[in-house]
Symmetry: C2
Amino acid sequence: MIQVILSNGPRAAPLELAEYGKGGLVGWGTLCGALNGASAVISLVAKDYPKVIDELTGWYNQTALPIYKPSNPETEISTTSISGSPLCHVSVTEWCNASGFDVKSPERIERCRRLAADVAARAVELLNQVVAGTFAPTWTAPGSVGECLACHGTGKAVGNVFGKMDCFMCHERHM
Amino acid sequence: MIQVILSNGPRAAPLELAEYGKGGLVGWGTLCGALNGASAVISLVAKDYPKVIDELTGWYNQTALPIYKPSNPETEISTTSISGSPLCHVSVTEWCNASGFDVKSPERIERCRRLAADVAARAVELLNQVVAGTFAPTWTAPGSVGECLACHGTGKAVGNVFGKMDCFMCHERHM
């Protein structure tokens, strides 16, 4: 069984390696840093890592987060939100919109702490399934991906896009 | 002087660690995998790594890429494009639009190979400046960030956004 080892001991991987992912790459708002760090670990452990990362990222997009409730937290929060996107900017702003808290508030920071715990726990769950031989991917791309790539995908009329994010988070339907 | 060591020898960091970033996280189209991998390395080497990553990412957004021209390439390409974004999806689609090549064509794959070389080379340049004590950051956030965060930034009327990407790549001005 795989466990999360929270250690900076001499034989552990340096936890600092994942820190640059914070705020979606040092505050740029791109890929959520929790997904980035978890994906790096998954890629070192699971041979078929793209499917495990797809499963983790799809779960992240569709799940009301955060789930984790620490005992005696410094900051209490109760709001959850569904990001619909693996991008930090979208994920954070959706939670701020749902909760009404400021983007740099202690509550939003607590939300991202708990979300990072959720992502790490889910990654460990999935890796344990891989180790046990019970990993059965369920993720499928959003409907918009199939719809839009019917023209924009490889070999099609426009042929200028690949991706797995929900197109309609940023683009309007134009057919 | 820092050099890029392309090796999988027993004492080298495993190159496979950065592979999950391909296609902006195994094809999701989020953060460009070249930026992701380079940023991981920068964060292990430079104490003030956020400024170095900002500089690299700002350069990536604003520069006509790819620059690198290998000798005797299997696939020849001549088109360059400016991404305006650190997101794989935007960067790739801008190049496809500029060149007319399909998103899965050998030419587009060659473009991303060369771009990865460009990003690695630029990261090494910046890290050598850090080591030499000559690193002088020049990157500033796009104008849209200041404009939009005047309402959407922390402590402001809406207070629901942080980020450094150009807002107008995905959003329309609405004031």
